[in-house]
């Protein structure tokens, strides 16, 4: 990784009520890089994503995106700078159709980031093309996962925050998801991906940061993590 990373997080802390969830997270995502944030449930992965996106009130520390401090901005400003957030629980607009869900995500094209149209997204996710008029509430979990990703892409982000995209999906869908992410990476998107499924992370990520109890315990190439059994055992396995 050379030069200033696209996203740099330093000393990020966050609380839920009085519970201290993040105790100083440091990580960086380079341009065009896929970073996997791995850790057990409860380790602080989702909280990191939400804190970066400005969705938590109680946070401290610095978040810079394209060299600019975004840690005090509201979520819609952060989104408009080019960070796309795909939440763990998907949060598809169930009353809206597939097309309308995409429309909510639409933002003007952004220089330096791939430009998406519904047609391009339907090509990437053929399932969605077949159900443009279907309401979000009447889709399966896998279809909803594709839709929430496509919806975020409509904002033409340069960085994607993907919270546990493989969770609860059938193996076939997980595979499709991995292919889609590799295609996005090929388009030049940078991705911060949180995962519990190490195999899935290994299939798409360049680098990995291991989070445990709200701090980063390991940071290095994905292959190194796959080789380091001691780290996997300490922070990921039982």
């Amino acid at each position: 990784m050379t030069g200033e990373p696209l996203l740099r997080v330093q000393g990020l802390q966050a609380w839920y009520g009085r519970a201290h969830i993040l105790a100083g997270v440091d990580l960086a995502v380079g341009r065009g890089e896929v970073l996997a944030l791995v850790g057990r449930n409860g380790a602080g992965k989702s909280t990191t994503m939400k804190a970066v996106m400005g969705l938590l009130d109680a946070r401290a520390g610095s978040v810079t995106f394209e060299g600019r401090d975004v840690s005090a901005l509201p979520p819609h400003r952060i989104a408009r700078l080019g960070i796309g957030y795909v939440p763990e629980d998907r949060r598809v607009f169930t009353e809206l159709t597939v097309e309308e869900n995409l429309e909510v995500g639409r933002q003007p094209p952004r220089p330096g980031a791939p430009h998406w149209t519904p047609e391009k997204l339907y090509a990437l996710f053929p399932n969605l093309a077949e159900m443009r008029g279907r309401r979000g509430g009447r889709m399966s979990g896998g279809e909803q996962q594709m839709l929430t990703l496509a919806r975020t892409l409509m904002g033409n982000p340069s960085l994607l925050l993907l919270d546990e995209p493989s969770e609860g999906l059938a193996p076939r869908i997980v595979q499709q998801m991995a292919e889609a992410l590799r295609a996005l990476k090929a388009e030049g998107l940078s991705i911060l991906l949180s995962e519990q499924n190490l195999a899935f992370a290994g299939a798409v990520a360049d680098r990995a940061s291991v989070i445990e109890k709200g701090v980063i315990r390991f940071d290095g190439p994905m292959q190194a993590l796959m080789k380091e059994e001691s780290i996997r055992r300490a922070y990921l396995a039982v």
Binding site: Y85, R91, T94, L96, E100, R106, Q107, R151
Partner: protein, 613 residues
């Protein structure tokens, strides 16, 4: 047969107006999660502006309808201004403050409208070209109402197209479902909210302007319509447009046919319908469960029993107050008597809000029930005063026992709406049940027995009874029951997990608060010598809320101090100017924006900060 058809049509005409207004209310609630009391004010402003325009340019169809549209747009602009100046600062406040702030706007608008258009009813011009009636099977029906009937579905269709065929509408629907996610996709919430307030207020204004040819325009239109619109929105499901449409139709028909069967209690029917719907379908006919229930008032520091000299302060105050007649004149005693009564009224509401976290918007019902109970016993039954006064807390408590059973089933905003609905039931019974309550004329000649008829004697009696009741309420706050009530407010989850029946505790507190308010009401009736339906009206409930808020929710002394401040301020200002409502409205808005903890809470924070420094 034809008679029923015409009745049905007039129900549809009522429904059309109801739908116009309630659609705006439900859209605003869906996106901002604020229940906007001022919605009725935009309806009233639409009517007044529509009246002025109709007088000037309404002689031709084009001028008339142009005026209606312009009035709607003007109401919309005012709604947007309110969003930018006021609501924007309150999205994260507890619902009590949001409701109160919008009610402050109601008061301001009432005095401004009275100042511009005068207090008299205004009769508007009939719509050009639609003055006549049509004959429907041998019965006559106004032509204009037929146009209204057509307008309801037309507006529904227009709104549907806007919500489903435009980007803005799609964003509104998305935000109604999940505000946070919509913002995370780059949609600026602020602009969306301003736009929604414009649309909602314009719909209210349109509904108002359309009334010009139908009914007299007056300063009471705002509360009348907004309470009905609340009912429609709650019955239909808060935030649901189709729900508002269906509920409008049902309630329009309920009113049209209810008047045939129960002419005396049509209003009661509507509110009973709402209560039944809410118990059977908690989120309304077409509503969905809330993902995140609205927040209760933010909890403060623990209540601490005062020690040392401070512990004797209430008794000292009582002794001082008992000595006042030695040197004060009659006028001062009258003011002081009212003040002591209001202190009990406010303290009884504080039991619910401060200890239980239950924001009641209809506490005046129990005050009024006590007042009417005492008045009826004293006049119709010729009961001696002690008996009449004993009846007051019993009737207040009984009313609260019945209403409370329904109300405590829901929390937050729905609780507030339910209490409001029951207060409106009580109000409409006294208003419409002419034979017993005298309706609008009230009950006169409620005077104390001879032994208590002197100002000093009645003052001392009031002081004794209210002082005793206040002391009781204070004991309750520190007794195990007070702990159970606070536990249910602080954490219902934990309270249930340690065996506390939260709902029952709240039900009992509601009843207790109702009887204390009833006693205050009974004394009030005798102090004034008369009772009127306004004692139970929404503004009276809000007066009590303002007293509690002024004094601070988190201290037991708060409501007493708040009642004193409020009453002296009102007495003082009313002697200087007619614009009491305007000033009260601005005070409420100012209080909500500046001191979310109330005056006493604010002062105590200052003291604590001083000590810490």
């Amino acid at each position: 047969m034809s008679f029923y058809l015409v009745q049905f049509l007039s129900g549809l005409a009522t429904a059309a107006t109801l739908f116009l207004v309630s659609s705006g209310l439900t859209i605003v609630f869906g996106v901002t999660r604020i229940v906007n009391f001022a919605h009725g004010s935009f309806y009233m402003l639409g009517a007044y502006i529509g009246w002025s325009l109709a007088e000037r340019i309404g002689s031709t169809p084009l001028g008339f309808w142009g005026g209606v549209l312009a009035a709607a747009l003007a109401a919309g602009v005012l709604g947007a201004v309110m969003e930018v100046l006021l609501l924007r600062r309150l999205y994260r406040s507890p619902e009590l403050f949001q409701l109160l702030a919008t009610f402050g706007v109601v008061l301001v608008v009432q005095d401004v409208a009275s100042w511009i258009w005068g207090p008299e009813d205004l009769l508007g011009r009939r719509a050009p070209g639609l003055r006549g009636s049509v004959e429907i099977l041998d019965q006559v029906f106004p032509l204009y109402d037929l146009v209204l009937i057509a307008l309801g579905p037309l507006v529904l269709a227009g709104l549907w197209l806007m919500f489903h065929r435009t980007r803005w509408g799609t964003l509104i629907r998305a935000a109604t479902q999940d505000r946070e996610m919509t913002a995370a996709l780059g949609v600026e919430p602020g602009r969306l909210f301003t736009g929604v307030l414009f649309l909602g207020s314009a719909l209210a204004g349109l509904g108002g302007a359309l009334q010009v040819p139908r009914e007299a325009i007056n300063l009471g239109m705002d509360m009348g319509i907004v309470v009905e619109a609340f009912v429609v929105v709650v019955v239909g499901g808060m935030g649901s447009l189709m729900g508002a449409f269906v509920a409008s139709l049902l309630i329009g028909q309920l009113q049209a046919f209810g008047i045939l069967v129960f002419p005396e209690i049509t209003l009661v029917l509507v509110f009973l319908f709402m209560a039944v719907v809410l118990v059977l379908r908690p989120y309304g006919l077409l509503g969905r469960a809330e993902e995140a229930p609205p927040t209760a008032a933010s909890p403060g520091p623990p209540l601490s029993a005062s020690t040392g000299i401070a512990a004797w302060a209430p008794l000292l105050l009582l002794a001082l107050l008992a000595l006042v007649p030695l040197f004060a004149g009659e006028y001062a005693l009258i003011v002081l008597t009212e003040l002591v009564i209001l202190a009990l009224f406010a303290a009884s509401l504080h039991l619910l809000i401060g200890l239980g976290g239950l924001v009641s918007f209809g506490h005046a019902a129990y005050f009024g029930l006590g007042a009417y109970g005492a008045a009826l016993l004293a006049t119709s039954w010729a009961a001696p005063m002690p008996l009449a006064l004993a009846g007051a807390p019993l009737l207040g408590g009984l009313g609260a026992l019945i209403a409370g059973w329904f109300c405590v089933r829901r929390s937050g905003l729905y609780f507030a709406m339910l209490t409001l609905a029951f207060a409106q039931i009580a109000w409409s019974v006294t208003f419409q049940w002419y034979g017993v309550t005298g309706g609008d004329n009230g009950i006169l000649g409620v005077w104390p027995d001879p032994w208590a008829s002197g100002k000093t004697a009645f003052y001392l009696l009031t002081l004794g009874l209210c002082g005793g009741a206040l002391f009781l309420l204070r004991r309750v706050a520190f007794a195990p029951f007070g702990y159970a009530l606070r536990a249910g407010r602080d954490s219902p989850l934990r309270a249930e997990a340690v065996g506390i029946d939260v709902r029952r505790t709240q039900w009992f507190a509601f009843t207790l608060a109702g009887s204390a308010a009833g006693l205050a009401g009974g004394l009030y009736a005798f102090s004034k010598g008369s009772v009127f339906p306004t004692l139970m009206s929404v503004p009276t409930s809000v007066d009590a809320l303002v007293m509690v808020l002024m004094g601070g929710v988190q201290t037991l002394a708060g409501p007493v101090v708040g009642a004193a401040l409020f009453h002296l301020l009102r007495t003082e200002i009313m002697s200087l100017t007619d614009l009491w409502r305007l000033i009260l409205g601005l005070v409420i808005i100012g209080l909500v924006l500046a001191f979310p903890k109330g005056v006493v809470g604010f002062a105590r924070d200052l003291v604590q900060r001083g000590r810490a420094a």
